[in-house]
Amino acid sequence: MCPDLRRRIFDLVVWIGSLVLAGGLLAGEAFAERTRPVADNATYRTECGACHVAYPPALLPATAWRAQMAALPRHYGVDASVDAPAVKEIGAFLDANAGRDRGVLAPANEPPRITTTDWFLREHRKAANAIRTSATVKSAAKCGACHPGADRGQFDEHAVRVPRS
């Protein structure tokens, strides 16, 4: 066999191998994303989940969660204060399970919003118009309007159902 042909076959094998490996890693990551256990805490679920979806802690960095916890008596125009033991427990839970900085864009005088992170806007760019115009959704913070598993921390893209009106 001429050296040139052997070289080409070798290149081909390397290419195919790389593609299979990359595909496997991507599929594995997607699978992990769907099946990753969602951090849970009963007090967080009861206190914060009483008024809205108990947002997965990984959706904001620790600095943002600390800002939220410090401003609970003025929580987006609502008094959401909890007693001292609950502040301590929820704060520790959020600290331990916070995510990396996903580009939090918040006006200086407002607490950080998951819905204004670079990550959120990128993930929802195709649905942005439907979210804005749907009377049922009203606010991008109503995760459960389109994500049926939001209360259980499940946001699988394949389960999304945007309401028609």
Binding site: C51, P73, K138, S139, A141
Partner: protein, 138 residues
């Protein structure tokens, strides 16, 4: 005599601290507590009024919301959070036995929600009137 464990005073104290919420397990017991406090605050106190409670629940208080905004004017039915749209289970104990079953939880929500609606905490008279009205709903 066997010596008491050093944790005994701690446990005894803790059970004393927790006792009020255990004693006030039912809405009627919580109402009795409000009555005692209202009587102490106002010597002329002449009992709670369901009619006054109903009015308080549905009238405006100068802000964006009143109680009925989220709990509906007929709180034997489910309501909806004005900001987030999340379903709120019925507030009347007759329709939802979980309501006012835990005194600490009831007090927490009164404190927060009165602050949102009135910009201050509710008085024992206001809380007693509203609870009396809620208990009359079937």
């Amino acid at each position: 005599m066997q010596r008491l464990s050093p944790t005994f005073p701690v446990i005894a104290l803790a059970s004393l601290v927790w006792m009020p919420s255990a004693v006030c397990a039912a809405p009627r017991d919580l109402l009795a507590v409000y009555e005692t406090v209202a009587r102490q605050a106002t010597p002329s106190f002449a009992g709670f009024s369901a009619a006054r409670g109903a009015r308080f629940f549905q009238e405006p208080h100068g802000g964006e919301w009143n109680c009925a905004t989220c709990h509906t004017p007929n709180p034997v039915t489910a309501g909806k959070h004005a900001r987030t749209g999340k379903t709120i289970t019925p507030l009347a104990p007759g329709a939802n036995p979980d309501r006012f079953a835990d005194a600490a939880s009831a007090e927490k929500w009164f404190r927060r929600n009165c602050n949102d609606v009135l910009g201050r905490e509710c008085t024992p008279l206001e809380k007693g009137d509203v609870l009396t009205w809620l208990l009359s709903l079937k």
